[in-house]
């Protein structure tokens, strides 16, 4: 590593420096790095400092490092990710297709050949694919390395910069002017105005530098730090401790263990409420829209009690529940306790809760009830002692009845279509009559029954579907977001402006630079030289192009 000594001011610069950090004189042999040799104006990015990555290239580590240090690589990664993200929206992702279909079949059926190719390429799960995650990670790596490689030299350069600048540096600034004669009075006026505009003024042998908003130069690095924190937060979600994501169905009146809490918390669903628009006076204003769209849901709500289990040491043992919290869960208003949050996310209406039956004589056309009984569908009794000496035994219970090759079975454990095989013992009889009864079904097994079981009524209840979340990464993600916002605002709403004043014989050379908003800088200079005879700076970029 060879140092470069500036031949004008003698400052020792690191190899790869384009503009001397002290006086700004272009270092001849490095002008190609920022493309200055073909332009009248100096490229001022990173103030012409040596970005280390451009200067060494030896070990494999250095090569990898340099690869990621390049902004070109960073932008390329962003563009690839952008295109990949767009591809993922061409067809719905797997999580948005109906839950009960096979993806391999669904994509082909719905979208034909395109769908099949899409599925084969794994684009149905694009955003959790290894290569998409790798792309995001590579962007992260690029952010870290590119920032380190730039912020350090830039910091040093801005710290070391001197008010006195080389003439070739000044002449090749975008804003530049020469004034032959400047009176002392005008000089004082300009300085006063610049101070009034909140410029910091440093002086070196009559050479002046007015500077403001340097901190905006750190904006990009601050926002990159924010992004990295955000990515770290996202990474931590893979730790089971940091991030829990589960789901639970709870029936009205049911108390259930909240999954992933090791039986520590329970939830009771007291009531599930579904409201739609159109009932109240207030909703009249939506009448037109409702007529066009059909019914619109107004509120999904679960009134719930959260319990803490004080008794459980072993999973499955009888819980000892203490009320922890009581409240309602609505969309947009999750219930929160001890780091957990429960979200209203799904529901099923009118699941059967209980059914009541009556016994009547087969021949009785009026179907007069001789006895009746109610079966609790989640906890049916084995036997029912009834009026008039009847006795009913449940032989078989099919909560979700269907016929499988002529054999009655249950499809699930949920009482969606309950059916029973009853043994009916008429008064003083030892031999039962066998009856099959369900919704819309009533079959006499032997064909010789004297009594018939008929459905009298049923009660239904709703089931609420709640998402269970515990996410300790949220504060980290939030912090990352805040830092990012601070960084972008700092970098974009403030500007680093510098005005160099170079005494030349009886006059002044003025040169100025800003990292953005040249219009604003021009206004500042206009204000500064107001009511003086100093020549306004010229935008040399105009000459450059024409």
């Amino acid at each position: 590593m060879n140092k470069v000594t500036c031949d004008a001011c003698g400052h020792i610069n690191p190899e790869g420096t384009v503009l001397c950090a002290s006086c700004g004189k272009p270092i001849d042999k490095n002008q190609h790095i920022d493309g200055n040799e073909n332009s009248n104006l100096l490229n001022m990015r990173y103030d012409g400092t040596a970005r280390r990555s451009q200067t060494y290239n030896k070990t494999i580590v250095d090569k990898v490092w340099n690869f990621f240090s390049s902004v070109k690589v960073g932008v390329t990664l962003i563009v690839i990710t952008l295109v990949a993200s767009a591809v993922g929206t061409i067809l719905p992702q797997e999580m948005y297709i109906p839950p009960n279909v096979q993806p391999s079949v669904h994509y082909k059926d719905q979208y034909g050949l395109i769908g099949q190719i899409y599925y084969q390429l794994g684009f149905h799960n694009l955003y959790s694919s290894w290569w998409y995650m790798t792309l995001l990670a590579l962007i992260g790596i690029s952010i870290v390395i590119a920032s380190i490689d730039r912020v350090v030299p830039l910091y040093r350069a801005l710290k070391n910069q001197r008010a006195r600048r080389h003439e070739s540096f000044l002449q090749r600034q975008r804003y530049f002017s020469k004034t032959e004669v400047v009176t002392e009075e005008d000089k004082a006026k300009v300085l006063a105005s610049l101070k009034k505009l909140r410029y910091n003024i440093t002086e070196e042998n009559g050479h002046l530098m007015a500077e403001k908003g340097r901190f905006s130069r750190w904006g990009p690095y601050v926002n990159h730090v924010g992004l990295i924190i955000f990515l770290i937060g996202a990474l931590l979600r893979f730790l089971p401790f940091m991030y829990i994501d589960d789901f639970v169905w709870v029936r009205e009146g049911e108390t259930k263990a909240i999954p992933q809490t090791n039986g520590e918390y329970f939830i009771e669903n007291k009531d599930f409420i579904l409201e739609t628009y159109g009932d109240s006076e207030e909703d009249q204003r939506f009448a037109e829209a409702l007529e066009r769209q059909g019914p619109v849901a107004k509120n999904f709500q679960t009134d719930a009690i959260i319990y803490k289990n004080d008794g459980a040491e072993v999973v499955g043992s009888e819980p000892d529940l203490k009320v922890l919290k009581e409240g309602s869960i609505q969309v947009n208003h999750p219930i929160k306790f001890d780091g957990f949050a429960l979200y209203q996310s799904s529901y099923q209406l009118n699941e059967f809760e209980s059914m009541s039956f009556k016994i009547h004589e087969v021949n009785d056309e009026e179907e007069l009830a001789l006895a009746s009984f109610t079966v609790d569908l989640t906890n049916p009794a084995y036997e029912y002692e009834l009026d008039n000496g009847f006795r009913v035994k449940i032989d078989q219970y099919f909560p979700d009845y269907y016929l499988d090759d002529g054999e009655p079975r249950s499809e699930t454990k949920y009482p969606r279509n309950p059916a029973f095989v009853f043994f009916v013992y008429p008064p003083n009889q030892e031999e039962p009559e066998v009856s099959f009864a369900g919704i819309g079904r009533n079959i006499d097994a032997s064909g010789q029954n004297q009594y018939k079981i008929g459905l009298q009524g049923f009660d239904v209840r709703d089931v609420t579907g709640l998402s269970v979340r515990r996410d300790y990464t949220l504060p980290i993600l939030g912090l990352g977001g805040i830092i990012f916002m601070i960084g972008v605002v700092q970098g974009m709403y403030w500007y680093h402006r510098r005005v160099w004043i170079h005494p030349k014989e009886n006059g002044w050379w003025i040169a100025a630079h800003t990292n953005k908003n040249w219009f604003g800088l021009k206004k500042d200079i206009e204000k500064a030289i107001q009511n003086t005879n100093i020549t306004m700076v010229k935008d040399q970029q105009d000459n450059n192009e024409k």
């Binding site: 990015r45 948005y96 719905q110 769209q293 979200y343 974009m492």
Partner: protein
Amino acid sequence: MEDLISLSSNFLYLAFIMYLLATFFFAATIRDKRGDKKSKTLNVISISITIIGFLAQTGYFITRWIASGHAPVSNLFEFTTFFGMMLVFAFIIIYFIYRLNILGLFTLPVALLIIAYGSMFPREISPLVPSLKSHWLYIHVTTVSLGEAILAVSFAAGLIYLIKEIDQTKSSKRTTWLEVIIYTIFSTVGFVIVVSVYNAMDYSATFEFTFNNEVTTVDYHLPPIAGPNDGTLLTEDRMDEIFQAPAWMQGVNAARKFNTLIWSLLAGLVIYVLARMILRKRIAAAIQPLLDRTNSDLIDEISYRAVTIGFPVFTLGGLIFAMIWAQQAWDRFWGWDPKEVWALITWFFYAAFLHLRLSRGWHGEKSAWLAVIGFVIIMFNLIAVNLIIAGLHSYA
């Protein structure tokens, strides 16, 4: 209540007319070559009319909010008109920084077109589904549309730059693409005209067709150039379709939307061809002389400045607020819903834009093309994602 709603829509009409009027005044300032006191008065009149229009639209917004009980940003009509309003607001801000009339001549028509476009969708006050019932509705939507509106100003400036700087003496890829942009704008005009005309005529034709093994009907409000796949016309006295939409088009309304698209493109083509015939040169070439006195560097800077102002606002509204709300409403701050993904794409795009400009020196024309592409992405997310890719955000 009825009064309030009609008052609200009157405000919107007023705003629309004011914007239209302001556009003409801004055009007059461009043609005016005197640069004396009179032209200054003209400037003041132009921007004043714009501000009156903006206030009128604010009136629309507030009265509609009161009438509906929620921020009127919840369906495609409300959101699109609000975006137009924010575009005017962003223009007013930028105008007071740079005092550039030409920007008004380009931004206001875009805003007009956006509002007119939005008005083609159902305009009645609609109720909020539970997931939208949150303060974050207006916090998120207003910030994101303000951010996108500021970015859209960057597009207007970029377009001015391109029309001024691209060499129109010979035909090239750049001139062609510029004409494509103009044609797209004309197609939007075409859409507004065609839909308005047929709405006024109360046109309706019903088709019956099979979708997902179920027989469904769809109402066409434009004559069917493309009918539903395997559909039959039910309404009498209506022309039958010219051809059928391809089978791979998904969704009950896919064929109808496809038909609307064809109509818009055709109407745009008619307008474009007429304009070419009258002007006898490329549209951009015809506009170019108007921009003679415009400073390209300043336009380039405005385009860039708009991005630097808009990008943080967009990030805040479109990503951060969006995530906070999504966490509350859908129990996850990010779910790769198409609308979310396109917000991310927009963000990636402008991040790339900024890096290219800062580090790789993409100024002037390159930067202007990027500003145009950025706007295309924004409009795609605002409109196409809702209409084509249905997701959680589909209101229409």
